[in-house]
């Protein structure tokens, strides 16, 4: 297995899970000059157990091949969830680092570098 590449950048889902309810809250620090700006964002939490979920699990079980026939159902399964459930089992770990960070440089084709740079001391 290859070890090149390193970790991946955050997907939109990662970002939503991370920046909406984690991190320092500005109103704990600033009171007078707060600007209430309208956020489009809604709570991203999901209800993990629900009737729909259960029926979906049952349907997924129903699609399993009878007996202990190994694998081979991937095409049947993959169109159910649309994304992700059966594809690229190990690929994620090895995705290239910094894909989106490069965009900071305005697409000028220069090398990838994160936005702020540390001045050497």
């Amino acid at each position: 297995m290859t070890t090149a590449g390193g970790p991946s950048s955050s997907s939109l889902a990662d970002v939503i899970d991370t920046i909406l309810d984690k991190g320092l809250v500005i109103d704990a620090y600033v009171r007078v000059s707060l600007v209430g700006i309208e956020l489009l964002t809604i709570d991203a939490r999901i209800v993990v157990a629900s009737v729909d979920t259960y029926l979906r699990f049952a349907e997924a079980a129903n699609r399993l091949a009878i007996g202990s026939e190994p694998k081979g159902l991937s095409d049947l399964v993959s169109d159910v969830k649309g994304s992700g459930s059966t594809k690229s089992k190990t690929k994620g770990v090895l995705e290239g680092v910094g894909e989106t960070l490069g965009e900071l440089l305005g697409g000028s084709g220069s090398e990838r570098e994160p936005a702020p740079r540390r001045r050497h001391k």
Binding site: L20, G23, V25, L39, V77, L104, R117
Partner: protein, 266 residues
């Protein structure tokens, strides 16, 4: 260095009736951090740094009348902070932090909390957050659950090829059984992951699942120069779980899961 005034005399902002820009704050960094000259944040505004003594805030101007929260906005916020975490410690603010002007950033945010920010940044020096995420491979994990449970197997026999109207109760029962089994597996597999990570760091936070088939969501605070070890560790686990869990390692990112806001003053 400009000293902000009430008057609207900025060269590029003297449009009569144009909304006064306010200041979006991304996070707190050491004062020696410098944005790239052409780095832009939310709504493509240039990233600026507002310093006070040894600490500083990463900010950009924003139109207060424009709503925030598009995917591009969210990603801009994360990109600025995560990009910074490669090179310097950073205290990330939650998305949507806006104050009226640069003076407020200095006087209310930085000056007021100088000591706590400075010491937190010092503690974070050299560290960044990584996210270890695993998602179950649906077919594999459901097969595993059915194979391990005689009750589930017989329920599956009962609904097999039955129309949904006829077998609804059995379907519900089977689905619920699978749901509970998934919870148990999530707990076990999270424990396994924590064990595997333990030699690297004990600064970890287990996140709540955000998807039905989440197996593992653990935030890790680690020295950036030990990233290779983390990749190896997670890669080994990914290989071990090849068919049942899709593992991802995300980072380095700002330490969102490790900054704690103070309790509101009484």
């Amino acid at each position: 260095m400009t000293s902000p005034e009430d008057t609207d005399t900025d060269a590029d902002d003297n449009n009569e009736g144009a909304p006064m820009a306010v200041i979006y704050v991304y996070g707190i960094v050491p004062a020696d951090v410098q944005p790239e000259a052409d780095a832009t944040g939310i709504h493509e505004a240039p990233i600026e740094i507002v310093t006070h003594g040894d600490i500083a805030a990463l900010v950009s101007e924003i139109d207060p009348d424009q709503r925030l929260g598009t995917p591009a906005d969210l990603q801009a916020h994360a990109r600025i902070l995560d990009g910074t975490s490669h090179v310097a410690p950073v205290l990330p603010l939650r998305f949507g932090a806006v104050v009226s002007d640069r003076d407020a950033v200095v006087n209310e945010l930085l000056a007021e909390h100088e000591d706590e920010f400075a010491s937190a940044l010092e503690e974070l020096e050299g560290f960044a957050q990584y996210l270890v995420r695993g998602r179950y491979v649906e077919e594999a994990i459901i097969r595993e659950i059915v194979d391990e449970s005689p009750e589930a197997s017989s329920l599956l026999e009962a609904i097999r090829d039955q129309p949904e109207e006829v077998s609804r109760d059995d379907r519900m029962a089977l689905g619920e059984m699978i749901g509970h089994a998934l919870e148990a597996k999530r707990e076990t597999d999270t424990g396994t992951t924590l064990d595997v990570l333990a030699p690297l760091t004990d600064t970890v936070t287990v996140r709540e699942p955000t998807h039905d088939e989440d197996a593992v969501q653990i935030a890790v605070l680690l020295e950036v120069d030990r990233q290779g070890e983390l990749e190896q560790t997670v890669g080994d686990l990914a290989a071990r779980w090849d068919d049942r869990v899709t593992m991802r390692l995300v980072g380095p990112m700002a330490p969102y899961d490790f900054v704690v806001a103070p309790k509101p003053e009484d």
